[in-house]
Every structure is written in C-alpha cells, then in structure tokens.
C-alpha cells in the first residue's frame, strides 16, 4: 500500500487508496483476527473495537469540528444502559423483576421508565436515539448561545460527572455503583457460548467498519468542509451566511449516536455496564486514544483507540502503577509535542522525503487520507 506509483497514474491510485485500506481493514477484522486470536483475546478485541467506535465520533466532533467533548461516557452509558436494561428484563423472564431489584426488594414492579425497554425494538432504537436526543437538547442550548472552546469541554465534563453521580444515587432502579451486571442472554442467544461471543465480535467489527465509512463520507462531503471551517474560523463561516451552531450540533449529535451504539455493543461483549465505565475518568480515556492516534484522522483515531485500550490491558494488570505513569506521559507527549498524533508522523515523514512539494499546513496538523477536495457532495 505504501509503494509510490508512477507519476502519471498517481491520482487514480490515490482515489483507490481509501477503498483498499477499507478492504485491508475488513480482511484483518473478519479473517485474520478470528483465526489468529483465542476466544478470550477475541473478546478483548471486541471490547477495544467498542472504544474505537466512540473514537470515530470523537474524530468527527473534536478532530474535525474542534469540539473537545469530554462527556462521551454519558452517551456511551445511555446506549449501554438502554441495551442492558432490555437484556436484564429478558434474562429475568416475563413477569419477573431483574435480579438486583429482587435483591434490594425496594421495587415490587418494574419502574415505569424501565417498562418500554422490555420491547426489543424500542430498546434497540433507544441505544442510538436516546444519546442523540440528549445531545440535541444539550447541544442546541450550548451552541446557540455560542458557548465554546474550554467552556464546552468543562460543561461536557460536568455532565459526565453528574450522570455518573445520579446513576450511583439511584441504587434501587439502576443498580447503583455496581451497575447492571451479569448479563447472560443477547436476544435469545446464550452469551456464555463462545460461538455467540464470536457472533457479537463480528457484529461489532461490522458496525465499526460501517461507521468509519459513514464518517468518511461525512468528512469528505461539503458538510465536512464546513465543519473544518467552523473549527478554524467560526466568525468567517458566520459571515458567509451559515449558522455554525447547526454545523457543530450535527457533529456533536452524530458523535453521541456513535458513542451510544458503542455502549450498546459493549454490554453483550463484556456483560456489564456501570457508572465506573462512564464517569469523568473513562470519558477522558475515550479521548486519549483518538488524541494519541491522531484526532483529525479517522484511521489514526481508530488505531489509537484500539492501541491504547490494548496497552492498558497489557500493562495495567501487571504493573498498575507503571501504567498510570505511562498513560500520563503518553498524554503529555502526544498533545504537547505531537498535536496531530501518531497519524501526523506519516505526513511529516512524507513531507520530509518529498521536500520539493510545498507543505502549507498550519495550526494543528491535519493529515486526513489524501483525497481530491470536493469529490463527494
């Protein structure tokens, strides 16, 4: 893939490159990984791919739109809880209460806001639509009044804190600190069965590829150009007659929907959703992968998310202290000295090799996959 084609047909190759990359990704996810990895490892990979799905949204909202959302955990959690609530109800069987409610004995019947989730279609739709609805309400309030930059980051972080605290406080109906645990079935399939675990992995991998393709289309559309324009100079976009608030809102809502879907898929893959997975710290951790890999590049963000999640499992179990230092250092080095993330290294190296071609990037490095501008509408 990295061979340099002869000058004449370079353009045609460049246009094919994303498709080729996509095909390689599909082969790795669907053929190489399931063959090469044990069931246990594949389960872990499924978990990492969920964070990669969140990273696709973060790439869109933060890398492209400049919206540093530190509250993706909220949307991840909304999706996750919506899915887990349905699966808990299904596990309990008709007429029975989920096990933790019986344990606390506080509720004699399903709380009213649990009841719609008994319907699988409602629950599935809610995993995506609920986060998007919350993002729409919050986003339109925040962006319309031109609350931006640091203010937005802090508010989104406060939202994550408040949501986690609220979940912990509602012990009787949300499972409190424990969250919703011990999920056994997934729409009639037993999750203990490794074959079904594989199926969950394949679903997650397919969703990831699908969302990458969707995000790519968005990024290379006119809307994508507008989004970058809003990030770089919001006032100029306003003078041109667009409403930056709407542009930002779309990116924020789409990112929220992706995070919700990731949370929903995380539940069958891991079997648990709890406040500890969605508070301030995990919300920032979702950002770190995208930052290290390259916030503005889809491939970078996704690979970064998987890589950091993998490194966390590999290192944190054996050396918890060392991992924390390493994670902190990773953050500092990636953001202070390599703001474009590892993905920008490719561009830096390439530019150095062909120093004849003028490089006119400015601001944060923005090495998206090369594509003729304005190709897709």
């Amino acid at each position: 893939m990295t061979t340099t084609p002869p000058a004449g047909i370079k353009g045609r190759f460049a246009a094919l490159r994303p498709a080729a990359g996509f095909a390689v990704g599909a082969v790795v996810l669907f053929a190489v990984a399931p063959l090469a990895l044990s069931d246990f490892r594949l389960g872990l990979l499924a978990k990492y791919l969920c964070t990669a799905i969140v990273a696709v949204g973060i790439c869109l909202a933060w890398g492209r739109g400049g919206l540093l959302t530190l509250g993706q955990g909220v949307f991840f959690g909304l999706g996750g809880y919506a899915m887990a609530m349905h699966l808990k109800i299904a596990d309990a069987g008709p007429g029975n209460l989920p096990d933790f409610m019986q344990l606390y004995g506080t509720a004699t019947e399903l709380p009213w806001w649990w009841q719609p989730f008994a319907n699988p279609l409602f629950a599935l739709a809610a995993t995506v639509l609920l986060p998007m609805a919350v993002a729409t309400i919050l986003g339109s309030f925040i962006f319309r009044r031109r609350v931006k930059g640091a203010y937005f980051a802090i508010l989104s972080q406060a939202l994550a804190a408040a949501f986690a605290i609220w979940l912990i406080g509602q012990q009787a109906t949300t499972g409190g600190t424990n969250g919703l645990t011990d999920i056994q079935g997934f729409f009639g399939y037993d999750l203990d069965d490794p074959v079904n675990q594989r199926m969950v992995y394949f679903i997650i991998a397919a969703v990831l590829l699908l969302l990458i393709a969707l995000a790519r289309q968005l990024i290379h559309s006119r809307y994508g150009e507008l989004l970058v324009a809003v990030r770089d100079s919001e006032e100029r976009v306003r003078f041109l007659g667009y409403n930056p608030a709407n542009v930002k809102l779309v990116a924020y809502v789409v990112a929220a929907g992706m995070a919700g879907l990731a949370g929903a898929l995380f539940v069958p893959a891991v079997g648990i959703i709890s406040p500890a997975l969605i508070g301030i710290v995990p919300s920032i951790e979702l950002v770190i992968g995208a930052a290290v890999g390259g916030r503005a590049s889809l491939v970078g963000a996704v690979l970064g998310a998987v890589g950091v999640a993998w490194a966390k499992t590999a290192l944190s179990e054996e050396f918890p202290a060392a991992w924390t230092y390493f994670q902190g250092l990773l953050f500092i080095v990636a953001l202070a000295f390599l703001p474009g993330g590892l993905a920008s290294l490719v561009g830096i190296v390439r530019r150095r090799r062909r120093s004849s071609r003028p490089a006119d990037e400015q601001g944060i490095d923005e090495k998206a996959p090369v594509l003729p501008v304005g190709e897709a509408v």
Binding site: A150, I154, I165, G169, T324, Q327, G328, F331, L335
Partner: protein, 298 residues
C-alpha cells in the same frame, strides 16, 4: 426557622470551600487562560503537606498554622514547575493544556498513591476547631461548626489578599497588563514569561491553601482533587473568566443552591439539578455573570 438558617449556613460553608478551590483557578484559568486539570492535584499536595507536618509537629493547632504557608509554597512551586516545563509551550492552545495537564494530574495521583498509599488518611483538627458555636440556644438550637467558620474566614482572607495583590502591587499591575495585552506588555519592558510563572505560582499556591482547608472537612486521598475540580471550573465558567467578583458571588450562590436542593431532594439529584441550572443560566449570560467589556467578536 433554625432549619432554614442551618441550611443557609451549610450552603455558605460549601460555598466557602468552593471559593477557596476556585480562587487559584480564577488566576490560572481566568487570567492566564490555561485550563489546568492538575489544579486538583495541587490541592491534594496541600492536603498531604498538612498531613506530613502533623506527623512531625505534635500540636495540631501549630501544625495547621505552619501548614498554610508551607502548603502555599509547595503547591506554588509545583505550579511554577509545571508552567515552566509544559504550559509555556501551550499558551496558544488552551484546549490542549486541558488534556496535557490531565496527564500530569494522573501522574501526580499515582505519585501520591506510591508515597502515601492508596487508602485515605486523616489529620486531627486542632481542639479549637472541633467544637460548635451555638448561635440560637433553646429547644431548637442553631449551631455553626467552628471548622466551617474557620474555612469561611480563610476563604474571605484569601480573596482579599488576592484582590489587593492584583490591584495594588507592582506584580499585580504587571499581571493585569499581561492579561489585557500581552504584546504591549512585552514591548513595555515587562518580562511576560516571568509574570506568567509568578501568576501560576500564586494560583497553584492558593490551591495548596485550599488543600489545607479541605483536611478539616474530609479525608485526604489521591483522588480528592478529581472530586472537587469540576465544581471549581463550573464556578469560574459561571462567574465569568478572570472576574474575581463573579467567582466569589457564584461560589456562594452555587453552594447555597446545592445545599437547598440536597435538602429537598437527594445529593445525586441535586448535582444534576445544579448542572441544569448552570446550563440555563448560560442561556441568559453565555459569557458568565461578569464579563470584560470588549468589542472583539469572539
């Protein structure tokens, strides 16, 4: 009646703690435009300083008094070091300072865990501060905790000291000059780099003082900074960036609001409602309670 007064006092004392925590931030975030997530860990450093001093000084009262300046120096030095190592490279990228300093805060938390252990520790409060003052006696008494009154006094003293420093001293003039127009300050012969570092020293030092105060109301642990930092940022955002007046008012208003809502609902619901109130408030005043008047479009 005394119930309401008691709740008001609780709210005011929550506000005083918030104010102490947010005060240093109003300098580093409000004036310098740096979102320092490690501020919470500077608070933690102040708290652990108190803990260490109490190990070596037997009298709780004296150790507390010694801890105030020492914690200021310890946290201040940490802040200046952070500014010199990292933040001065990032002044034009405020959002990145947030994430970079979060990395720093992770490492400081782990450092605290390695040095002092993961479980929380506690300090003894001096005898003077353990009691209560009875304001209204009788069947339905109204009492104020001495430690809370001490924190209230400390917060107000810190506000006055900071305001006077900014307003009256040459250093304060230089800080204000750099905040208002960095380039003009630079050509006027002010060493902006040094001013930045000094401002950071003071702001972080105030976090250390807040840490000393927090030892009076709660346990000391590696994650204590994370728990309070978001609230402090919200105070600054709602108060208006770089507005000391706004910080003071909003800290107390949010404290009372939190206390009243906790009384009528639960702690967790109160947190959510306060956030909703803040978002609603920002609809009315997106730039915070007080703003610098400016003709800039941004």
């Amino acid at each position: 009646m005394t119930v309401i007064l008691g709740q008001m006092f609780t709210g005011i004392s929550i506000g005083a703690v918030l104010l102490l925590i947010a005060l240093g931030l109003s300098l580093t975030f409000g004036q310098m435009n740096v979102i320092n997530m490690a501020h919470g860990e500077f608070i933690m450093a102040g708290a652990y300083t108190t803990y260490v001093l109490q190990k070596s000084i037997s009298s709780a009262g004296i150790s507390l008094l010694v801890a105030l300046p020492v914690a200021f120096l310890v946290s201040g030095a940490l802040g200046a070091l952070l500014e010199w190592l990292l933040i001065r490279r990032l002044y034009l990228r405020p959002l990145d300072t947030l994430l970079v300093t979060w990395g720093v805060s992770l490492m400081l938390q782990q450092l605290a865990r390695d040095i002092f252990g993961a479980p929380n520790v506690q300090t003894r409060a001096p005898d003077v501060l353990t009691g209560n003052i009875t304001v209204i006696g009788g069947d339905d008494p109204l009492t104020f905790a001495n430690s809370r009154l001490f924190i209230l006094g400390l917060a107000l003293a810190a506000v006055v000291a900071l305001a006077l420093t900014l307003r009256l001293t040459p250093l304060g003039r230089r800080i204000r000059a750099v905040v208002q127009n960095r380039d003009l300050a630079e050509v006027s012969g002010i060493s902006t780099g040094r001013v930045d570092r000094t401002a950071f020293f003071i702001g972080s030092g105030l976090a250390g003082v807040a840490g000393v105060a927090l030892t009076l109301v709660g346990p000391i642990g590696p994650t204590m900074g994370t728990n309070v930092i978001i609230d402090a940022f919200l105070v600054i955002v709602v108060g208006g960036i770089g507005q000391l007046k706004g910080t003071v008012i909003v800290a107390f208003v949010l404290g009372v609001l939190q206390s009243v809502l906790e009384y009528s609902t639960t702690v967790s619901v109160a947190k959510v409602l306060v956030l909703v109130a803040i978002v609603a408030f920002l609809q009315w005043r997106p730039q915070g309670l007080y703003t610098l008047r400016t003709r800039s479009l941004v």
